[in-house]
């Protein structure tokens, strides 16, 4: 059927108009000077302050939340799936993770402000009942640590959703075979469990990294732009208080795009490898 591809035209046209062309515009604009014409100045500017710090912070926050979120998400998912845990717990956890992974942005930021802000419930409880005000001890919700703590609220559930199918793929026979050959639980994990799960774990953590790297609303709602992150900086340039170089926002976007594209390129082969053990 040589003409069958015509059926794809409406979809391709839509993607072209509202995704590919605008994205292409960003890519082209990033390499344009103020009077038009090709230049690398905008890209070079990314390596100067304050943009260098924004990238450093964004990468740091994404790494921390991907590692911590990935580890905790895996441990919680495994705890819910392993033998002995009641079945209903698993269903509850999946539903709850679906909600929490989507409960992000402005409302999530405020939930944390109500909890750990300067007059938050937990802050007041700690001050009144335990005599420790965390804000007197260097903690602030409106800092990088605060952003990381808040991001984990959607990172951990995302990890649980993504990694659960891989944990399901760990067959009980493998564990029994290892046990009957005299392996301890640690030996099973070290020689069998972790190596089999490794591509899935890495792939899931890359997904988490990108999820956090691209997040704007949560950090904005939390700090109002007080913590310098790449998306926050782009938003600041876009809202246009400064009639600066309009191509700078595009260059920052291209910087983000490159980091995310590298992530996807690493992710795809890992995912293919991970699916090898899928039932």
């Amino acid at each position: 059927m040589p003409l069958a591809w015509i059926g794809l035209l409406p979809f391709l046209l839509y993607a072209l108009l509202f995704l590919l062309l605008p994205a292409g515009q960003v890519l082209v604009g990033a390499f344009q000077g103020l009077e038009g014409g090709f230049t690398l100045d905008n890209i070079r500017e990314l390596f100067n302050e304050p943009y260098r710090t924004a990238f450093k912070n964004s990468i740091e926050v994404s790494l921390v939340t991907a590692l911590v979120g990935g580890l905790l998400g895996f441990l919680i998912a495994y705890s819910a799936i392993r033998d002995g845990t009641p079945r209903w717990l698993r269903g509850t956890l999946t539903t709850f993770s679906g909600v929490a992974a989507n409960f992000a942005g402005i409302p999530l930021a405020f939930a944390f402000i109500a909890t750990l802000g300067t007059i938050g419930i937990v802050t007041q409880f700690m001050t009144d009942q335990l005599g420790i005000n965390p804000y007197d001890h260097g903690f602030s919700l409106f800092s990088k640590t605060g952003v990381e703590l808040t991001y984990l609220y959607f990172q951990i559930p995302l990890m649980i959703l993504v990694i659960s199918p891989a944990i399901d793929g760990l067959r009980r026979e493998w564990r029994e075979a290892a046990a009957s050959l005299g392996a301890s639980a640690w030996q099973f994990w070290w020689h069998v469990g972790i190596p089999i799960l490794m591509p899935s774990l890495l792939g899931a953590m890359i997904l988490l990294f990108g999820n956090s790297f691209a997040a704007y609303a949560t950090a904005y709602g939390l700090t109002g732009g007080g913590v310098s992150l790449v998306p926050i900086t782009i938003g600041y340039l876009l809202s246009g208080d400064v009639l600066d170089n309009p191509h700078l926002g595009q260059a920052l976007a291209v910087g983000m795009f490159v980091v995310l594209a590298v992530m996807v390129l690493v992710y795809l082969p890992l995912q293919r490898r991970a699916s090898r053990w899928a039932r």
Binding site: A4, W5, L8, P10, F11, Y14, A15, F18, L19, P22, A23, Q25, V26, G29, L72, I76, Y78, S79, A80, D83, G84, T85, L93, T95, N102, G105, I106, P107, F110, A111, A114, T115, I119, G120, I121, V122, L152, I156, P157, L158, L161, L207, N211, A214, A215, Y216, A217, G221, G224, P231, I234, L238, S239, P246, Q250, A253, M256, F257, L260, V264
Partner: protein, 263 residues
């Protein structure tokens, strides 16, 4: 096989439960404090939000945006995914690749491109949320709707269904509307509800393109009225919760997993 839950599993599940429930409980307690006094307990903050005409106005805008996004996405994608699975199975990876593009071009990048590219386009598109924002939201919803539909289509035998329908004399429109669509209703519903949750919560594009949607209203209240903001946060959580619970119950037993939204 263990008969009882492992002690370490109890510890990790409790840690997880504490981390996820404490902010919700704290927000609930916060929302019950008196607006003037900061004392417990009153439902006044909920009343204040529910009596604010701006609340209803913005939630209505976001809800209409969500419906419009869902309709356009389904009209665009149901025939496309059907056609690809039926006639062009070799192109499935191509569409699957497109579904990954929004991951590399997140809302914050998409809005930079869209604002620039459509600057100077007609006002009915550029200055209207029902034009500009919906165009962007269809792109944001694309991966979720695509993966939901693709799973739905792979679970049914579209070749047999199509042949049966056509041998009885049905044309393409009849086949699609009366044979295919009823069979993928569950998958379409899952994608639609996820889209509803995403659009009702999308802040990045709406605020940077200066549109007054529900999340923009939430942020405005956050900055001006602390205690009513807590009430509003819980109401918004309720919307996400309702959408997700509807997905789970709508798809019970079909083994459908979905992944996070726009942050």
């Amino acid at each position: 096989m263990r008969r009882w839950i492992a002690p370490s599993a109890v510890v990790w599940l409790l840690i997880g439960a504490a981390y996820f429930l404490i902010p919700l409980v704290a927000t609930l307690l916060f929302s019950l404090k008196g607006n003037q006094t900061g004392e417990c307990c009153t439902l006044g903050n909920y009343g204040e939000i529910l009596h604010d005409p701006q609340f209803w106005k913005n939630i209505k805008i976001s809800f209409i945006l969500a419906l419009e996004t869902i309709v356009i996405s389904l009209v665009l994608l149901v025939p496309t995914v059907y056609w690809v699975n039926l006639k062009l199975p070799r192109l499935r990876p191509v569409i699957g690749f497109f579904a990954l593009v929004p991951f590399v071009v997140p809302p914050i990048i998409l809005v930079v491109g869209l604002l620039d590219f459509y600057q100077g386009s007609p006002r009915w598109f550029y200055a209207e949320p029902y034009g500009f924002l919906v165009a962007a939201y269809v792109i944001l919803a694309f991966p979720y709707i695509y993966f939901a539909l693709d799973a739905g289509f792979r679970a049914i035998d579209i070749h047999t269904l199509t042949e049966a329908s056509q041998s009885l004399g049905a044309g393409w429109p009849t086949t699609l509307a009366r044979v295919i669509v009823p069979n993928i209703k569950g998958a379409a519903l899952a994608g639609a509800l996820l889209t509803l949750a995403i659009v009702m919560g999308e802040y990045t594009i709406a605020s940077l393109a200066s549109f007054d949607t529900f999340p923009v209203y939430i942020q405005y209240v956050n900055q001006t009225k602390a205690y009513p903001a807590a009430a509003l946060t819980l109401l918004s959580f309720g919307i996400t919760w309702a959408a997700m619970v509807a997905i789970v119950f709508g798809l019970r037993g079909r083994g459908q997993a979905q992944v996070g939204g726009a942050h």
